[in-house]
Symmetry: C2
């Protein structure tokens, strides 16, 4: 494995407005979400997952997703994505004019059944129907599949790598245009990450385009680094590390956007992000979510003197 | 760079009793320190830094170092090390019967002057005198030099890599038998860590035998992983991540022993550590230090189901 050249830019996709907020009981008012969206765009974020087209009775926190997409579409250069659990959600995503829809598929059978009441292969079939719907609609909305629990599962335990790779091939065959691997429960270690992404690149080539890591057990940034070493150039993250982990109360969930940005900035890898703007937005979000668990190292410690000198 | 085989064991040296406790204002009673020492040994730790031979008026927290060494020497298979700032401390270390003495040398001139009122080269000369003293004493006490601020400095900012390598050669020439690189202030990034350790191995060969990382900005474990990737097999760590960072209040300091142990366990790298024993000791130490900042992810989140199954 060669250490990659540090000059290729990395994209940090903000998923706080969806992944983060869906696991917080309170509903952030739409006006605050729109402020967050605009400020994230102003800080240089060019991919933002703004919500999810799931029934509002299941996730009232995200009931304003269509409204957010409408505003996001007006922000120059922004790739607006939404999470979509099924064909009905996909239709809503197409209607909204989002640029991309993210379809989750759990590599763990037990997790898939518990979460979606469908086997992974039933979800693959639904992905095929969503691709047909998208094609017949004439829309250019990109179809991305996120393979969740790809590194292990709190219900099932171990998830076989060959099963992850089989499902990866299956979703590509079903019409996914972009795929990613997600450590949904914070079980991954950096060796496993490097190995599985290397194998996945052999299956998906450059359609493998996202790493989604949680910091539940402190290895979030080590895993981001390991994925980057084998060629991943796009990562999900939540500002202030919101999102939590329902299986480990008090533990952190998603890697924090500002910490991922710091990791890459410290290595000299361009992300297009304005650090001060990101940290200012983080303070605002933490204030809106007062009382909720937030995480993140760089906001506590501040930038090193060496980086301030370089800036 | 090839990913190393995960079968070579890694040593996690406990430095909490010295590096951790010296930055906490209160003094942990000797009886508690001895309990900690014995429990750490029982949990499988085979290298422990038990204190420092500095004047008690400067560090009253570590005034019982000789007493700790005396007990540590009775624990089977334990390598007992002490920190030593100068010739006088070295004499005390030799008198105590410690197995190894750690001599700090700051690669940052500004840090060296502020901390020790000596230039790095004056410290190198003192290391030569300490080597001569050790040799004439007939003791086998190993001389290890830790190059602090090797990745940057809060006072000076950038620390030139060629200066780090020059000092590394100088301390080897002066008689150091083992050397390590330390990110004293949490400035390192994993690319820098891999690069500098690779260059340092070319200078010191297998005498380069320690990585000392802080988690101040969230990159502690990513840096441990990066150093491991290029061949480092011995790391300093503090139980519960005590040690703090005087330059960034609220930020974490040393990487947490239990989190480093988890990183390696998750990758299948043997450390000889008993996880449950380590976590039980951590709870005890946190209780003794109630009110002090402690850190660590795995103690909050618990081991993953996959690892429990493997155990």
């Amino acid at each position: 494995m060669d250490t990659p050249s540090p000059v290729t830019p990395v994209t940090v996709r903000e998923v706080g407005l969806r992944d983060g907020l869906q696991s917080i009981a309170r509903t952030l008012p739409t006006a605050h979400k729109l402020d967050w969206l605009r400020a994230a765009h102003a800080a240089g974020q060019r991919e933002i997952e703004v919500g999810s087209f799931v029934p509002a009775r299941l996730l009232p926190q995200l009931a304003d997703t269509a409204e957010l997409v409408a505003v996001a579409r007006t922000l120059p250069g922004l790739v607006t994505s939404v999470l979509v659990p099924n064909l009905k959600g996909a239709q809503a995503a197409l209607d909204s004019g989002a640029d991309a829809m993210l379809l989750p598929l759990s590599a763990s059978h037990a997790h898939s059944l518990a979460n979606l009441r469908k086997t992974p292969d039933e979800v693959v079939a639904e992905i095929g129907r969503i691709r047909a719907l998208r094609d017949s609609s004439g829309s250019c909305c990109l179809i991305e599949v996120g393979l969740s629990t790809a590194f292990g599962c709190t219900i099932q335990g171990r998830v076989d790598e060959t099963e992850v790779l089989r499902l990866l091939q299956a979703v590509l065959d079903a019409g996914a245009e972009r795929v990613g691997l997600a450590d949904t429960v914070g079980y991954a270690d950096p060796l496993q990450v490097g190995r599985l992404f290397e194998r996945a690149f052999k299956v998906a080539g450059d359609r493998l385009a996202c790493g989604h890591f949680h910091d539940t057990r402190g290895l979030g940034l080590a895993n981001v680094f390991a994925a980057w070493q084998v060629g991943v150039r796009r990562f999900d993250a939540c500002l202030a590390g919101i999102g939590g982990c329902p299986h480990a109360p008090g533990a952190s969930g998603n890697v924090a956007t500002e910490d991922v940005a710091y990791l890459f900035a410290s290595m000299g890898v361009p992300t297009g992000l304005d650090f001060d703007a990101l940290i200012a937005l983080r303070s605002q979000v933490v204030q809106w979510l007062a009382g909720e668990a937030t995480h993140g190292a760089i906001a506590r410690a501040g930038l090193p003197k060496t980086m301030k000198e370089a800036a």
